[in-house]
Symmetry: C2
Subunit: 244 residues, 2 copies
């Protein structure tokens, strides 16, 4: 029995998210199905991040235990043959028997893309949030240090979740301007459900002048989801990297 | 009556091409339909380039004569409201009464994107041709000067066309390497149907060593479509610019 580490990219548009669900097709399910011709029995593929419905990945990492002898590149090619074109295995490598994509991850980087121009280029339409208008980028940047560091992010967590440990560490948060909008890159040890999307929605409030740049520390202190901004749409979010 | 110049981007995947057809939906038809709420009667929109089924545009240009008073930006916004997200009007401006997008164009630039890596990133899957393998990029570049200039491109024309004037001028042809493949940029005074795609298919033969870099001048001389390479798939081609 070998443990494999898979690096996977996907366009999440058509999926109910990474994780298997009773209703809808998940990326995990598609990967397990694509491995089955090799493994005989459907294996369990564990992903580092449970991306939500519509969220994309440039480099999700998954681990799987298999009892096959093929070379890693052969496995990659065989799996890609059985995957739809919106999911691709970029890389396969052997990992220590104890490797688990989720439990061993020490951090993740997400990217959120926002188009502020009047028009979204048709090529980008599944990968961005369209918020036409002028935003105060300096104010948005000034708000970021209030979120970096170790904080209780309960105010940024999806409503109706049962997670009780809501303390997370954000190591880096950067806002860059692009030709037609803004891109937020956030690296942290882990993220609550909807955390990055709620950060983006709250930063947009700051950029639009509806909320002060210095107010985010107060917001964190409330631990009250209703005090934060809207949850930005899934389509703008991409899991860019998993750190080990 | 005003003459408007529209700059239009589209993901051509879902369309039978730019031009109205009896079967299938065209980009032209969608634009004419989206203008109708403003104009009352459906107008005729003339495009600079008749892109084929599945071919994309970053900046197609179209002209239309309308009898409305709205500001150009208002027209752009109103039309985009009625267009699907895979077609966007980027820009609207007033043009001289005699302006016709096709007849006044003095040139066009097309881009062809090819992925030579093992895997196509899911985000790019509608916009590239996947030809995994190693290609001799120097040989491909050496072949380009044989195509630049004024030539009879009959050998590069779609089979079963009735066009008799097959002389065209290519002003520029550049092949660049990208992270996962090659990009061909071609600027010319005009192009025959499938010309850029057949150029790409023929260059791939050169890059794979199936054809010599110096052989393209001989190929042009044959005027025989069966002597050229395959027609590369539509999805890799984008109309990038129309010159006036």
């Amino acid at each position: 029995v070998r443990t494999l580490k898979l690096t996977v990219a996907y366009d999440g548009t058509a999926y109910c998210g990474w994780q298997r669900q009773i209703n809808g097709t998940s990326v995990q399910q598609r990967l397990e199905e694509a491995l089955t011709p090799l493994t005989g029995e459907p294996p369990t593929v564990n992903g580092a991040g449970r991306t939500d419905a519509g969220v994309h990945a440039a480099a999700q990492v998954a681990s799987v235990r298999v009892d096959i002898d093929h070379a890693c590149d052969t496995i990659r090619r065989a799996v890609n043959v059985h995957l739809p074109a919106d999911i691709r295995v970029l890389h396969v490598e052997d990992a220590p028997a104890t490797f688990h994509a989720r439990f061993n991850a020490i951090g993740k980087t997400y990217r959120y893309r926002m188009v502020t121009a009047d028009v979204v280029h048709p090529f980008d339409r599944w990968f961005v949030w369209h918020v036409p208008g002028r935003f105060d980028v300096s104010a948005m940047r000034n708000a970021l240090p209030g979120l970096v560091g170790t904080h209780d992010f309960a105010a940024f967590q999806a409503a109706r979740t049962t997670i009780t440990d809501t303390v997370r560490t954000i190591r880096r948060a950067e806002l860059s301007t692009t030709e037609d909008g803004l891109t937020l890159d956030v690296e942290g040890d882990g993220f609550l459900r909807h955390q990055v999307r709620t950060m983006m929605g709250t930063l947009v409030d700051v950029g639009a002048g509806r909320r002060g740049a210095a107010s985010l520390s107060d917001l964190l202190r409330t631990r009250d989801r209703s005090q934060a901004g809207d949850t930005a749409p899934a389509r703008g979010l991409t899991l860019v990297r998993v750190h080990y």
